[in-house]
Symmetry: C2
Subunit: 202 residues, 2 copies
DNA sequence: CGTACTGTTGAGATCCGTCAAGCACCGTGG
DNA sequence: CCACGGTGCTTGACGGATCTCAACAGTACG
């Protein structure tokens, strides 16, 4: 889809499908920084940041709406709602990155995975893509590994552990929560950081 | 200094001294998200984020200037320069968090440490606090461990490795580069992400 | 029918954490 | 002056979490 070095200063809004932003390292490893799900902005960072090796990639088939940034940063008064939404998204993105840092730095593989699956559920629920039972998820175990700083082999083992412990099941593209409370406790998951409502006073 | 739960919606600019922002986990571990050095904004995230367990702490004696956010978000036209500087700082903060995620997720302890010390050098150089030889650094090995997701014991070993390999020395509160090129190569360090100059078109 | 991709499992190696002990420094108070 | 406690640094031994290498199964697709 998109690749690094694009300077067109344009963002997108993801309508359907999943994508991810990641950075490639010289030894071939990659670190996924974030996943984009329907309703998310895409390209914010890539248009504002000059980081080498930083790229966007679609995971499933996707539909996007293009957002010309002249509208965003240009007249200022032209589309205050969109600008506000963008600030909201940026704040939430920051909050998610903080959690990501905590996740990678101080939690072990099981806890990390649990936290990740719960965060995804909370995000998907906001756009109606997660139900009581769980949610559909097109990510491969390689995606999970690259996001969580694990090898895909270990991702596999961790998923089996969590399933056999009766906490979550991730099979055939579906995430199902078997013990939501237990998982939340294990992961020390508090969804408050995803709800950055009106903290920036207008 | 400051502690979580403050809702006064105020930011600070750090004039002298060092501080850090971190999150505490229920098991007592902590993850340092970022260090603040002179010239940095502080409290941006803590006033915009409602994340539990998120705190600020001073590392050395510090001097700050208080910034009332009515000035920032209020009149809008009152202080465009400050607002622009804040946006710049936010963009750089984001870029640093991306690097932090990559660091924690996909680099081993030596490389992580190398990258961290080089990033700090680049940041300090911008405010005149790093010279050719190196820089003064008040961080303890515990700080380094909590920032890099390592135990302080392992931090100690890694620092000895790097010193004996003739790359960097961190002793007695001073960081000295013995082989700057070699270290940069080892760490895959590219300072471009710290220089977020005029990417946001006005 | 072959190829590519994803998932699965095992065995061995490695990195890093934990526990433990000891040292150096420094300020305090007797 | 010295004893003392606190903090930070250093090192060794051991164990565990995770990685790497390797092989194989299932599925989709040409």
């Amino acid at each position: 889809m998109l690749h690094e070095g694009q300077i067109d200063r344009v963002g997108y809004i993801l309508i359907s499908g999943w994508a991810c932003s990641y950075k490639l390292l010289p030894d071939g490893k990659r670190q996924i920084v974030n996943f984009q799900i329907p309703g998310d902005f895409m390209g914010l960072r890539s248009s504002m940041l000059r980081t080498s090796g930083y790229s966007l990639e679609s995971i499933s088939d996707i539909v996007v709406v293009e957002v010309c940034n002249q509208v965003l940063f240009g007249g200022r008064s032209e589309s205050p709602k969109l600008t506000a939404a963008l600030l909201w998204a940026a704040a939430r993105d920051t909050a998610m990155m903080v959690e990501h840092i905590v996740n990678l730095g101080r939690r072990d593989a099981r806890t990390r995975m649990a936290h990740f699956l719960l965060e995804l559920e909370a995000r998907l629920a906001l756009v109606g893509l997660a139900g009581k039972a769980g949610y559909r998820c097109p990510l491969t175990q390689y995606h999970l590994g690259d996001a969580l700083g694990l090898s895909s082999v270990h991702v596999n083992r961790v998923l089996r552990d969590l399933r056999e412990a009766g906490l979550v099941s991730f099979q055939a593209g579906k995430v199902e929560f078997l013990d939501h409370r237990g998982l939340t406790e294990l992961a020390d998951f508090d969804p408050a950081y995803l709800d950055q409502t009106p903290r920036i006073a207008a």
